[in-house]
Point group: C2
Chain length 123, copies 2
């Protein structure tokens, strides 16, 4: 064990949120949930460029993890599916983004240190 142990382990990366499609879903919900109403399934599909099947599958994972809640309602006798982040899901996303900021900061630090040096780094 030394001071480098786990330096790049990024323990704050929550795998439930990190998966590409789920990150897309959670970021959409975080950005569009004004007034607590949530986002319609169809709009979410569009924002994330996901198929019905993929969106459903990942929403189930997020629901089971307590990150997202889903509510069914009716409008003009047509069923509607609303999705939104739970309070805990929003908190987890905030913590996740903080860790992403660390990844970005490490990468930018490395770029800065390498700039001007002869090496692999493409300018």
């Amino acid at each position: 064990m030394n001071d480098k142990t786990g330096k790049f382990a990024y323990e704050g990366i929550d795998r439930v949120i990190h998966e590409k499609a789920r990150l897309s879903i959670v970021a959409s919900l975080a950005s569009h949930a004004e007034g607590g109403g949530g986002v319609l399934f169809g709009d979410l599909k569009e924002l994330c460029s996901l198929t019905d099947g993929n969106l459903s599958r990942h929403l189930t994972v997020l629901q089971e993890a307590g990150v997202v809640e889903v509510k069914k309602s009716f409008k003009n006798n047509r069923p509607q599916t609303w999705c939104r982040l739970t309070v805990s899901g929003r908190k987890r996303f905030t913590e996740y983004v903080t860790e992403l900021e660390n990844v970005v900061a490490d990468a930018l630090k490395m770029q800065k240190e390498r700039s001007g040096k002869v090496g692999w780094f493409p300018v």
Copy 2:
């Protein structure tokens, strides 16, 4: 199709690099590859807090994708395994980090818009 289509799809997220353990490996290599020499397998294991098996498995995926190259050598008659990013791997990581910056920017924008509002967002 409207202006929201794919707004949160984050197409620039490269799944080869995005997976948590591989992100850890690639970030370590990007930050520690001074002079073109690369990082020893044992040091990489420590930086990423990965087991031998997990590190080997993910290095294979990264090698097959052309992101990482691995070289065996000897020091005092003991085998050494060196790992480093390829030129293309470094470029892909730079592009990936640019997309992460977009994720972070979207999330921070959302936090700013919600601050001071009554809602789910925990302060």
